[in-house]
Amino acid sequence: MRREVPLFITFFIGMLLIFSVFIPPMESLGEDFTVFFDIIAVFAFFLGGGNLLRVHVSKLTRQKRDWQYSIVTLLGFAVTLVIGLFKIGNPGGIAAAPTAAGSLFQEIFDYCLVPLGATMYSLLAFFVASASYRAFRAKNREATILLIAAFIILLGRTPFGTVVTGWIPESFDVLQVPNLAVWIMNAPNLAGQRAIMIGIGLGVVSMSLRVILGIERTYLGEDKS
């Protein structure tokens, strides 16, 4: 029972949504279910947030390595929650949107989360360089092709690229790096993208069917009562 019911739910809901595409009165079902999903996700957060609390409290009480930082995490979590849920420091009071301009909650976002997120994101610039140095090598034919394509696109979009091949006469202007870059984007790149996308489409169809038909069911747990 414990296993059959969930399997049936997956099967039923999956099939319902597949057929809803062809039945106009049911067409909005997908959107309705998405709202359900949003609501379930918030309830699930009680589990996730609870887990976060538990992990850090246990780190703290057992004085595990780096337990000091757990205090910071817990404090940050609690303070943000209280400020946001009770809308403390919000000029509009409890009726206003939590992210209203000038609210304390929005300030936290602007002065803590934005710089943190943007900086984490900007680390990419460094990693791009280190990956380029270490990994982009003409090791075999595939890697060489990747490298050349990347190089042409890179060059084609810096002023340098224009200079390097500017001497190529007008009648062969497709061989000038910037034009070559555009050609690569529009022809082989498009072909590769299409092949990947069609493949992904088929992969999704097949995997979804396996899930709906109950062949793929590890996420449902074992029936051991």
Partner: protein
């Protein structure tokens, strides 16, 4: 206040950057702040958007009023949302010993939704539309294409074809089939090279933005 805010932002920015040197207390502190605050932030946003904005307002809709604030009619409640909330509550059954298995029901619901929805979405947008988009005249409409365009068209059609051959699972990549698959992986590699070259550009601008903040807005060293 403004001074405090800009110093906090700068302190956190440097903390994250210091990770490039190695893992260190400054980074750990920034990370702890980041995790704590952002987890709280997203719960608050999700709570007000979904539990209040979608569920509560959906089930207990406010009265409809005209511009002057006069009563027009009662809102129409959407009781179906209660099903969503019930599924959400079932999710919490995990916390109770003995009935934890009930939480698989909402999970099964979600998995069913995802697979059902995506199956049809991907079918039309990824398979049908892409196949249709590849049916192009090689010589352009009314012979209108230049040599380069013709080559481009042939590459698009041939490349897509070869790429699909590469993904074949149930046939060994040998002989002519294997050669086509080889061409296929080359085309895919060009695609990857192109997207690499393409994204590198925009990645740099983010770092430039942060540097501008540190040396300009914070320290005032940039004129």
């Amino acid at each position: 206040m403004e001074h405090v805010a800009v110093w906090i932002a700068a302190f956190l920015t440097l903390g994250i950057i210091s990770f490039l040197y190695k893992d260190n207390p400054w980074y750990k502190l920034s990370e702890a702040i980041f995790v704590g605050i952002s987890a709280g932030y997203w719960f608050v946003v999700l709570f007000w958007d979904n539990i209040y904005g979608k569920f509560w307002v959906g089930v207990f809709p406010p009265d409809v009023v005209d511009e002057a604030g006069n009563f027009v009619s009662h809102g129409v409640p959407d009781y179906a949302l209660i099903v969503g909330a019930v599924l959400g509550v079932l999710m919490l059954a995990r916390l109770l010993p003995g009935v934890g298995w009930i939480s698989r029901w909402p999970l099964a619901f979600i998995v069913g939704c995802t697979s059902g929805l995506y199956l049809m979405n991907y079918f039309s947008s990824n398979i049908m539309r892409q196949v249709q988009g590849t049916i192009i005249p090689l010589f352009g409409i009314g012979y209108g294409a230049s040599v380069y365009e013709i080559i481009g068209n042939i590459v698009i059609v041939g490349g897509t074809f070869a790429g699909l051959v590469y993904f074949f699972f149930s046939k060994e990549h040998r002989g002519a089939f294997g050669a086509t698959a080889k061409v296929g992986i080359w085309v895919i590699m060009i695609t990857f090279g192109a997207s690499f070259g393409y994204t590198v550009m925009s990645r740099m601008s983010l770092l430039i933005g942060r540097i501008d903040f540190l040396f300009g807005d914070w320290l005032g060293l940039i004129k």
